[in-house]
């Protein structure tokens, strides 16, 4: 089910009302059932695939916990990982790899045709696969005990607010919340209402209105656009994807909040980052934290954590080949997680290169370059992070390289290839983002402290404006970008 729809608004109203009427035990059944219905609103048959994947991990985790022999624990973990990653590979990457292998055979003049299976990508498979992997691995690591109640475990995997695009949760963060004795509190409704409203506002008023401009911009032949256009498009897409994905996270957090369930934050104003390390602490935090604990730190042989917060801000010195290799391979895999296309790998490697260079600079100057010059950090990080969206959004590597090459040529800065409004919209988005940040992070807390009554009035005006705008702009015209991952 798509969040930006009337169906969802009715659905969430029904679920919330029923949830608070039922007993704790029955609430669990309600959430499980409603989550399956929520998923089935897309393509019912794929709900079975998700349940199958969840059941494998549920069983393997119990077996891992019950057995005392290490080799059996490893075997059950391998079965779990194999089935999870196998499904992900078949549905998401089989076509990509077959296609690439076919090209390789042709390059080597080997006359053999590989059958290509272009399957429908089950919605949210990348998200629920990572979530179930983390569960099994956490059981294996001894961080958590496996659940014996499949419905409770099922709720953890399928809980509808986070099912299709995260945040990717850890079992120890959320499972206990499903069975907590909670009494209705209007505060839950208020927090949930505000977050959902804000998410819908970002999605319907900003992301969906930026989408056609970005789409049109990326359809212009690269030969017709200038370096300024490349920068503009990168900023526009950067804001589109941020408004879109953070909107989803706001609605997910808000929906869970209606039922008194807390989710960790998934975004923290990534475009005010003062370094790339900082960026990965603020962007898609639950994914970065997952990558940190299940890929990056294990590859480096370091101690892992069991929480989906913190992101990829890790203090590692650049002192071994292993760490360099793990840095690049982790980001390449994270890129590939987003989609079966080399452009995403390119995006991952682009970021790992910047992190690598950043570490080098830190080391050379023997201090934090941006420690006392945050503004310098921001001025360097923001445009480079935005430029990174070019390979992420472009159709292919060739187009990405051509666009990025434009940026490096002075002569490409002499003309404009798009309508004047496009630049204006990009500038407005930038201003909106920073004004939003200043208001939410600086002015709002100050007002609450010194003028609480005035703040209440402001809040009522703010909520009213958002309701009016969401009412006018609410249209399920675009799915959330991260649905395709």
């Amino acid at each position: 089910m798509i969040f930006n729809s009337v169906t969802f608004l009715i659905f969430i109203f029904f679920v919330t009302t029923t949830y608070w009427i039922l007993s704790v035990k029955n609430r669990l059944y309600l959430l499980f059932l409603c989550s399956i219905i929520f998923y089935a609103f897309w393509k019912p048959v794929f709900a079975l695939l998700m349940l199958f994947s969840a059941f494998i991990d549920f069983s393997m985790s119990l077996l891992i916990f019950q057995t005392t022999k290490k080799k059996y624990k490893k075997l059950f973990l391998t079965i779990s990982l194999f089935s999870n990653l196998g499904l992900l590979f078949v549905f998401k990457y089989l076509y990509f790899f077959s296609n690439n292998f076919q090209s390789l055979l042709e390059l080597l003049s080997i006359n053999y045709t590989i059958p290509l299976f272009n399957l429908i990508l089950p919605l949210g498979i990348s998200f629920y696969t990572f979530q179930t992997i983390s569960y099994t691995v956490d059981v294996y690591r001894g961080f958590i005990k496996p659940e014996k109640n499949f419905i409770l475990y099922g709720c953890y995997v399928t809980f509808f607010p986070q099912l299709v695009a995260g945040p990717i949760l850890r079992a120890n963060e959320v499972i206990h919340q499903f069975i907590e004795e909670k009494k209705f509190n209007i505060k839950y409704i208020y927090i949930g209402f505000e977050r959902i409203l804000y998410g819908l506002f970002l999605k319907t008023c900003f992301a969906d209105n930026l989408a056609p401009i970005v789409d049109k911009g990326f359809l212009i032949p690269v030969s017709s656009i200038s370096a300024i256009d490349v920068w503009t498009l990168s900023f526009l897409f950067g804001f589109q994807i941020y408004f879109d994905f953070s909107a989803y996270s706001h609605i997910a957090i808000g929906s869970a909040s209606l039922m008194g369930i807390n989710f960790p934050e998934n975004f923290n104003y990534p475009y005010i980052s003062t370094s790339f390390k900082d960026f990965w602490k603020r962007w898609h935090i639950s994914l970065s934290s997952w990558i940190r604990d299940y890929l990056y730190l294990p590859l480096n042989g370091l101690e892992v954590q069991d929480k989906s917060v913190g992101g990829l801000k890790i203090n590692l010195s650049l002192n071994s080949k292993r760490k360099t290799i793990s840095l690049f391979s982790t980001w390449a895999i994270m890129g590939l997680w987003h989609g079966a296309n080399w452009t995403f790998v390119f995006w991952g490697l682009y970021h790992s290169t910047l992190i690598y260079l950043e570490r080098k600079i830190y080391k050379i100057f023997n201090l934090s370059l941006y420690k006392n010059t945050k503004i310098v950090g921001l001025v360097i990080t923001l445009p480079l992070a935005m430029l990174g969206w070019i390979p992420f959004r472009a159709d292919n590597i060739e187009e990405s390289l051509l666009m990025l090459a434009k940026v490096a040529k002075i002569s490409e800065y002499s003309y404009l290839g798009m309508r004047e409004n496009v630049y204006l919209i990009a500038a407005s988005s930038l201003i909106f983002f920073f004004c939003g940040y200043i208001y939410m992070q600086k002015i709002k807390p100050l007002l609450i402290r010194i003028k609480p009554i005035l703040f209440e009035y402001i809040q009522i005006v703010e909520t009213t404006i958002l309701i009016v705008l969401v009412f006018i702009f609410l249209r399920p015209i675009n799915q959330f970008i991260y649905f395709q991952f």
Binding site: W42, K187, Y190, L219, I472
Partner: protein, 390 residues
Amino acid sequence: MKIILFQDKEYLKKILLPILISIFIIEIISNISNSTFDNVALGRHTSTYVARHPNEHIIHSTEDKTISNYIASRTSIIDDNHLELSISLMYDDWVKRGKRDIIFLIGNSQYHAINQLKSGDINTSEILFNYFDDYDIDFLTYSSANMNLQEQYLMMDYFFDLFPIKYFLLPVFLDDTREDGIRFYVKDFLLDKLNNENRNKIYKKLFAKNSDSPAKDLEGLSGTAQERTENYLNKILLENSKNWSSRTNSRNMIFSQFYFLRNKIFNISPSTARKVIPGPYRDNLFSLEKILINTNVRKIETLVYIPPIRNDVQIPYLVSEYSQFKDQVRSISIQHNSNFINFENTVPNEYWGFKGQDDNTEIDFMHFKYQGHLALADTLYSYLVKKIIK
């Protein structure tokens, strides 16, 4: 439940009060928003007029609330979402009139908009239709606001197949070379009509560039099980809530306000110089060449002309770019054996109008008053009579 609900009145107030106020505001917005964005852009007192035949004069105006009832006349089509019906009406009437020879003009809003329209005013299309009616010739027009040459290429390819056009008129505007992409209703219309396999690659290329279509309300649900429920709910809301059904107009009103705000902040007026945008410019001139290659193949005599522009004040282009544009259009026309004339001074300065009646400072560079339409029609008539009527 009552006790639980009111346990914290503060939170309840924060939810209910904005909802109540917003209902009131939405009601107001729904009542005041009734114009499309294109009409707002045209100017409050510049009216869209559709040439008619027989003597059935109907006026389009931004202040005319029946605008949505219009489709097109039998001799002239303006851009709309009902191309299918409009063209079939035009075709049927042409058949009824005895399949007369056709002079066809394709242009932008200059051919259907009239400044400071008064009762009895008609436009170039209708004047020329009436002139040539006496010679048993149909003068047909297809005009669309800001129509670029890529769209004109596609539409003309269709019209050349539909009608045995004897003479073809093509005014080329520098303004329209800044436009890019194919409008969704042009694309939708042509996709149904054309056997793409028989057409050249340009179709695919042009259609691929199309991203102009305003996203349909339920587009994101296409192919999903949710599509049915959302369709059902949307239908109920549309039938039962005036506010819900006027959301498109409300969105247009908001965008219009941004448009006016932009103009105010950056001091943008109709006379603000518009620079050439290299990509669309190149693609549009390439399409001009394609149109002329098409007319050559089909042996249709063609006049390419630089349309009238107001020249008693600074023109809204960079002079050097405008000169270069005229030279290029001339050169392409001659290269493809078409006639070329520069009609930029055809409409005297006093026949140009304003975008608004109340505020006579907003000069219109694209549209003129009835007298301007008459002047242009007379000029074209003189030229065409010499060419066609032997």
